[in-house]
Symmetry: C2
Subunit: 398 residues, 2 copies
Amino acid sequence: MRILILGGDGYLGWPTAMYLSRRQHAVAVLDNFAKRRWEMELNVEPLIPIRTLHDRVDAWEKVSGERIELFVGDLRNYGVVEGVLEAFRPDTIVHYGEQPSAPYSMIDHNRAVFTQTNNVTGTLNALWAIRKVVPECHLVKLGTMGEYGTPNIDIEEGFIEIEHKGRKDVLPFPCQPGSFYHLSKVHDSHNIRFACKVWKLAATDLHQGVVYGIETDETQLDSRLETSFHYDEVFGTALNRFTVQAAAGIPLTVYGRGGQSRGFLNIRDTLRCVELVILNPAKAGEYRVFNQFTETFTVAQLAALVVQQARKLGMAAEIEHVENPRIELEQHHYQPAHTKLMALGLEPHYLSNVLLESMLGRVTRFQARIKRDIIQPRVRWDTRGREVEELKRMWAGA
Amino acid sequence: MRILILGGDGYLGWPTAMYLSRRQHAVAVLDNFAKRRWEMELNVEPLIPIRTLHDRVDAWEKVSGERIELFVGDLRNYGVVEGVLEAFRPDTIVHYGEQPSAPYSMIDHNRAVFTQTNNVTGTLNALWAIRKVVPECHLVKLGTMGEYGTPNIDIEEGFIEIEHKGRKDVLPFPCQPGSFYHLSKVHDSHNIRFACKVWKLAATDLHQGVVYGIETDETQLDSRLETSFHYDEVFGTALNRFTVQAAAGIPLTVYGRGGQSRGFLNIRDTLRCVELVILNPAKAGEYRVFNQFTETFTVAQLAALVVQQARKLGMAAEIEHVENPRIELEQHHYQPAHTKLMALGLEPHYLSNVLLESMLGRVTRFQARIKRDIIQPRVRWDTRGREVEELKRMWAGA
């Protein structure tokens, strides 16, 4: 199958490209390296040094004998998107190519607007270009479990049957996203559903949980194939951040009471889920939503698991409850469905002590590179009254 | 009260400005005249000649003795929005400042992306600037009944109580918008709800039906105060279009079977609704949705009413069912709630033969200006496979 990966330079995009390339698909990646510029803006960097995408593509060819095709360009430019589709003519597009951070989208008005226009425009351009160039192509779009928020009812996979005043309908599950980033994903989902309806496109919207992990079978083949592992407050996700805090000997920062429940999954399961979805595509006109995670934990539970394992390894890990910079419920019902990917054959890598030990070990090897001052949360959701001086301090390295 | 009207040059913005100015509010308008440029692009124009906004503001002062403050600028420019809020310091912002046409948003990828980035960015900028400059300000945002689509259950006002697997919650009403324009309004609604939650802003989202009518008490005071009345397929709404077709002696074009039900209201009621909402503002942190229409009709019913009245006036009006250019249900359940504005004191101007007679009479006076070739629907929702040549023909005047 011919598979184009949008955002192929990212934490998930690059491992997905190698994973699919190794399984005999013709793979191409498109990226504009925006993420590397955002890192520069905030003076953060991945824990483990990574090569340029060009160098990684070359290294992958040396290691595997397979060539991944590389396109450089910005999804916001419709001409780029249409041109790449014409040049590569994919059967499937896996769309990771968005600004992926909630805190980034909450820094200031500029980044809020950027996040939404960047993400929405890129996806709209992809939809219009698919319609024109490869209308049979299956769009696999990465969304987030955060699109749902935390309603007081069980979360279903994209749709819910509602009975109301004696009538019934199956309707899109109501969304209560918790940041301008999460909102951008909700906007995308609405746009994609509409495009599938009017143009008979085929799309699968993966509402993904929080991904953890550093390694996949392919990144382990050669140090030049590492993926971008973030631990800072803006791009680092909960478990990844916790392992780095443990390795650095600083307290694990749990936001507020830590009762926030979320869905989590191993990076290896992300790749397998995407593969399963590609092999079992949506039909023409079909818009599907799969909830893509394997387990739910509260943030406090996760931190406790990391502390426990870190202590076994002789680290002096402890938990610190810090004031929650976000506006979110810290105690709530959370029972999201996630049966559809299991039904396709997903066999989860559940979070285990073995995995935690391996992550902690790997992170410890790069201990010297940890920047301690980029982990503490500084981006606050309630920015009302936040002063210019504070913003200056935050983002000019002070 | 100090009231800033975004989109003050438009069909509704200008009459709203005069209506509120006459009622002793301090009124300012902001516009970038984008709508006049879109008219130029498509070679369409309002039926009744209108002056520039500068001239209308001057004429209003001569007629009423009241001065409306005029700002020229683009909502997509955050600096403009913040600057205007600092200069005027409104207590209320009435936000009409968006690309308002579903067909316009469906013409091509460029206008789809433009509609969404324009509308979403303008509203995001307004939210961020309100938060910084006038956090107590009440935002009155014009949304559309089209945000809901046509579910098979009764439509409530913004929220619905859902009971699911033994648990309950009040959640945002699921949205199934039917064009990239309607989608942009759904994106706005999600963004506004979030801003109210995290920043404690106060907002009322008016999910408005289809507005009809040419005149208000204020536009009638002087011919220089006319508002922009569109009858073309892109900017003209159903009833307005039908009256012009009747006056021009061409068949009233009903899309498909005409069983599409929609909520409608008189332009005079739009002004009164906005006033009621301004006088009864949302509280800090509150996001309210009011469904703003007074009656529902099917498109076929509306057309029949116009034909009936036109014939009484001696016009040879008839109905033509044309292939529906949109993708929408032509027969469906439609029972939307609209009690909240009534509870605030709205006394509707229902559609009457007197109103239709007056509209037909007024339109007939401007008969010579009717461009017949801009009424027929040419923008199709199902654009898959549409050729460049066809687009060229459509929009280069052929």
